[in-house]
Symmetry: C2
Subunit: 889 residues, 2 copies
Amino acid sequence: MSKYVYDFTEGSKDMRDLLGGKGANLAEMTNLGLAVPPGFTITTEACRAYLNQDEFPDGLDEEITRHLEGLETEMGRRLGDPEDPLLVSVRSGAKFSMPGMMDTVLNIGLNDDSVAGLVRRLDDERFAWDSYRRLIQMFGKTVLGIDGDLFEKALEGAKREHGSEHDADLGADALRTLVDTFKEIVAEQAGLDFPQDPREQMTMAIRAVFDSWNAERAVVYRRQERIPADLGTAVNICSMVFGNLGMDSGTGVCFTRDPATGTQGIYGDYLQNAQGEDVVAGIRNTVPLAELERIDRKSYDELLEIMARLERHYLDLCDIEFTIERGKLWMLQTRVGKRTAGAAFVVATQLLDEGLIDADEALRRVSGAQLAQLMFPWFKIDAERRPLTTGIPASPGAASGAVVFDSARAQEWSQSGRSVILVRRETNPDDLPGMIASTGILTSRGGKTSHAAVVARGMGKTCVCGADDLEIDPVAKRVVGPGDLELGEGDTISIDGTTGEVFAGEVEVEASPVMRYFEGEDGVEKDELVAAVHRIMTHAEKRRRLGVQTNADTAEDSARARRFGAEGIGLCRTEHMFLGERRVFVEKMILADTAEERRTALDAIEGPQREDFAGILEAMDGLPVTIRLLDPPLNEFLPDLTDLSVKVALARERGADPGRDAELLDAVRRQHEQNPMLGLRGVRLGLVVDGLYAMQVRAIAEATAELKKAGKDPRPEIMIPLVGAVQELELIRGEAEQVLAAVSEESGVDVRSCPIGTMIEVPRAALTAGEIARAADFFSFGTNDLTQMTWGFSRDDVEGAFFAHYMDGGIFGVSPFETVDPDGVGALVRTAVESGRKGNPDLKLGVCGEHGGDPDSVHFFDAVGLDYVSCSPFRVPVARLEAGRATVT
Amino acid sequence: MSKYVYDFTEGSKDMRDLLGGKGANLAEMTNLGLAVPPGFTITTEACRAYLNQDEFPDGLDEEITRHLEGLETEMGRRLGDPEDPLLVSVRSGAKFSMPGMMDTVLNIGLNDDSVAGLVRRLDDERFAWDSYRRLIQMFGKTVLGIDGDLFEKALEGAKREHGSEHDADLGADALRTLVDTFKEIVAEQAGLDFPQDPREQMTMAIRAVFDSWNAERAVVYRRQERIPADLGTAVNICSMVFGNLGMDSGTGVCFTRDPATGTQGIYGDYLQNAQGEDVVAGIRNTVPLAELERIDRKSYDELLEIMARLERHYLDLCDIEFTIERGKLWMLQTRVGKRTAGAAFVVATQLLDEGLIDADEALRRVSGAQLAQLMFPWFKIDAERRPLTTGIPASPGAASGAVVFDSARAQEWSQSGRSVILVRRETNPDDLPGMIASTGILTSRGGKTSHAAVVARGMGKTCVCGADDLEIDPVAKRVVGPGDLELGEGDTISIDGTTGEVFAGEVEVEASPVMRYFEGEDGVEKDELVAAVHRIMTHAEKRRRLGVQTNADTAEDSARARRFGAEGIGLCRTEHMFLGERRVFVEKMILADTAEERRTALDAIEGPQREDFAGILEAMDGLPVTIRLLDPPLNEFLPDLTDLSVKVALARERGADPGRDAELLDAVRRQHEQNPMLGLRGVRLGLVVDGLYAMQVRAIAEATAELKKAGKDPRPEIMIPLVGAVQELELIRGEAEQVLAAVSEESGVDVRSCPIGTMIEVPRAALTAGEIARAADFFSFGTNDLTQMTWGFSRDDVEGAFFAHYMDGGIFGVSPFETVDPDGVGALVRTAVESGRKGNPDLKLGVCGEHGGDPDSVHFFDAVGLDYVSCSPFRVPVARLEAGRATVT
């Protein structure tokens, strides 16, 4: 039979799975010899068993009784003893912190008799009755599910009756009467008397904590935070200590370093004569922790010693909750403290300098997500700010602009050069044009998985959502909010997508110093944060096995990516090279009636293509440049069918000759596809449109020959998109090799060694990778398309339509377009890597989908053994960091 | 070292891989003791080695010499002997017959000296010089690659000069002069003298035959016929016999039964004083084989005996080529004969009756493709026919109609109720509307993989293509052809897609007797073919393991499928139930502003749905009916975006109020998807559109309860489409189970046991099938969508755009929408079957894509262990037959 209950002396910080975070750390502190109020923890395993069968598992009750008896012996008091009662708290404590999500009941052990014992012990009648009142209130609400307002109203009534302003002004008699009122509420609402048996109180409270694991808010929170649903919570039974027994008592929280900046020192707050709940309620102002030195020197010194000890023990920034009961310091909780992204880097390097951790551990202590946050623009530190409210930080960055309430105005103003913030209750697919036109998005409803949040992150737009104290009226075009806040269309606001803050007026935005560092504009000496980032990046570089390349289509992007540390271009798209003023050649190619006309159109575009390639190859001199031949369907280069149909119909209606538009419309109709994503694109286009790929290969080959002649070291690689069968690759490869040979002969420069490979982005390519590898020098996983086809949904069509719904419903923890789906898409990647290497041991393997810059995905790609990842230039530092971390985690 | 050469006495009919079909059968006949002109075969292995290194493999030359010496000894003549030369033929012979594709050289061994020996031996100067002339001509063209027209022109010149009408009228002198002319042509064109060394002639001829394996026409043929490209050909060296040595000589072909109908008896043709080439050239008319009895009784009797012997030996209908040289009968070739679909069934049952084969073997002798052919309508056997020409049979069936040359006329006339045949040089995607409007399609260009052929088969339209003696002028709207054939728009023609025949005027079409049999309209006694089909089907039924169900959406289709032997409905689509007059409810549902409005729209459609289900469940009483909940995206129920945009724009331009159209347009725009195939459809729709699936489940449950109350045995199964993650299925399953329980309670009839399963049609579903199986009672593979997503192309968009191109290029041997792609899609099916059964050992597994009725695919599904296939009603007999065959092949 399992052991379901552990005394604090029996556990350790490494038992979080079984004891939860709080229980594990209480045990750790107990065993360090710190003053922790004695108690015991009921395991998560007991919770899971209870949730499965809806009753305590066999033996749990007996174990609790045994441990309770031990606790009574240790404390010299008995639960419910009318003379000198032991009081305990019953608190939840899951493996992962779920602040405010789950239940707590304090003062268990009080009843009509034992309350007298407490009066005697503490010599404080008011305090004892107030404690009993609190127990009934908390128990009624939490354990019995009674509407909390009923108790609050009764309390308000008592205060009115006694002319008291604060709860604390109510005297013992008033509280005694209130206890009776509360007991009546319980009897009426729950149909039972408030249980006088303390052991029964405890059992009921434990069940309530167990049940709270499945409360709706907890379920939603876990989904959002990607916490598994089947962990269960532990329950901590802890003897009560009181910080509200007079001015020699109090309660506080502290951090061993500044969690905002990482600066060394003691940070925290203290509140005299109060319990933790009072701090949360914010009735009185806390004082800085330093004040404690003046108030209670002995406790202060002791606390500082404990803080230092805990930091050395946990080897990290700790946050601590403590209570002083009549001059005696008790530790109530500690854990590794949350911190900002900047603090994470600074603290990690400090601990490294202090010799507490090594460089690998410092690397583990930071994350790519944190680094990405530090690269976004932010509000100037010394800029003036007028805070309006705080919502949920949904998509990082900082943005200022004029308030607009609809897409039409957003587009109009943004086209005239104004920066705008789209303000909506919530967004839906109709708002997409407005979201695209805006610099930032602010909503009053929805969380991190709302439509606004998901779409904004996808677009890289700053977004704050769920700012629920704003009332947004899109018809009247007004926002009203806390105080006398009122905003209309055109008023300027600023939003911080990293913190969720909303400010009035413009707050100056600047590039982050970390970005300036990566751009080579600032050195490392300028500030502590940059120095920390530099040190950790340097170590990550030393450690990483994965190469990091970039996706770039222009010489400018290539140069920037190189500054950011890219070791080549993993994906150079060629489609933009067919846009702009060159669109006319493409139209000619598509409209060509004869092979000769098409040939002429292709010839005309070869020169400009050659220039493009030469620029990129030069910017990446000495590094590989993987050029993907034309991928999108031809109709993407033509006007929209609906728009053009309307235009031609209207021209005819007006008696005008639609002229060239009519001809274009014919072509658009001919090329029109129901599902262009699944149509004539990629290698299919290359096989069907005679001469298209040969022209592109020629442009690459000639650019290469030119640069080689000029003494450069160009390293192009040719990548064929959308291959699903080895025969496709073989045919194009044959054609490409002929062109390379021809250009070698014409130019006198041998360019035949150019590697030729393929994207793996169609499920069939992954399934037949062994065959395909025999005709390929490299594979590059196109995980965007691969995700689309493996799941059978297109990103454009579903992100707005149902992704938010799916994430709220727990079908995805995270969008599979953000982090690679390990079970579906990941299975195909693993298969393809394995059989690809078997088919061709020299095969080079990389990934060039957007997953290449996603932290979790980078670890996945490292684990499956790819050679490199490729991502957008701005993600290159993130990928470098995570590639390093992947080797030490 | 390999043995590269086999004497005819060393081989057997089972060595086709090594000796080719012709060589293996020559050896077989030799060993049966029949009179086969002696010779030997060079193996396909030698050919492959030669093609790899472009020279004879080590030892081959010596082996040939050794076998040649053996042959010379046996024949008592030496190759090139000026006194009495041995002459041989050098013929290709691959494993699979490739008629006319590869090279042959006859009369090897003649030169300036040995021609005199031949004169002496045969005592026929003219014959000897003509033989030499033929050798040089054939050698020049085939081995040396000289343009054959040069020889033909010289021959014509000689005839003109001597006033000869036919080749045979040229005398010995003229032929001797012609030999000189031919030798000059060789010297001029090839830059070498015609080789006088017979051994050199032989070596060069063998190389030429080897090389012809890779001739373009052979490559194209193999692609079209799905013959592997790396087999190589064998080469047969055979001593020459002559059927043209006088009236006591001749040549013929015969079949041991009628290959057209299967009728027993002797069928064949004979041509006196001729070689096989003369039969092909068609200079003189052959006579029926029976005439040989009169001409040469001895040879005739011998031939009949040999035919009977060969049939008993091969246990099948044989076709035979023979030559009589001066009264001596020689067997030149035999093989199992090609036959029509009807003959295949009739012959198989005859052989069964004769005790030559058992019932399993009879089953192996026919195919589902043949059965399918027999089910199409055909021209009445006794209908009058006026043949115009014959093209390539590209899509079976028989059709009569008025000739049209473009889509516009095809649509116009078909709308007015006329039956039309679209006549084009070749078709392209612009012709699709016309193809849809026509009963049949006729083209003058392209083969079985041309656009017309592929699209017509996809649509199930009758099609004849590549009728290349028709000249089609679509501008003048005229067809001219053989004789004085001339057709204009509106003239009636008839085409037979099973034979490729084209007839003038209307030929009466009737349902085939086999179809009437399956429909239960005719009994088996009516004709021999129906009786044969019945017997073989009965045996297939006894053998098959796979269940066969049908795809049907109406009570009528269900009833027909049941007549055809379906054991349930594997796929009942519900989308048509939302069309027609019910479209208005769907529009209301989509346009609903409130949940209540939507609820009302859904309620309104539930009743009609219940009626539909009740009808189908009743028609399939006692058999499973798998109902798929709504699959397609909602926008399929709304008008087309472009059409509606034009309509609204024009209304506004004219100053009219577009009214409801404007509202509809908003909805269409909102619902518009770039790639509807990858959008909000299937289970996604069920999860996002609140109440939709619950309404459908309720309609099913209520129909079931109703029928049960009436004493029926309805067996619905609920199928969820497009599931990619188990969570999707779990959510819908939970909802469905609630509805089933509610209806059980309301109706007092327990309908809760209704199985709930899912389609496996998204690659991710196959990859995570183990998980999904835990929430599913059954899987049904939706191989259409699975093929689309695994290959990343949509059938609608690609069949017209590039499939023909891909098939011609050899990328597909067959469309993966026709026969399941075993390496890609098949790999996913195998994975899903395996892990699905592991996840849920009671899982029922089927397939409901169109592959369910494809012969090759049925074998695949049997092999991977599915429980059943489901296909369209007309394919049910085909699937039943192939499911039986799968167990014996």
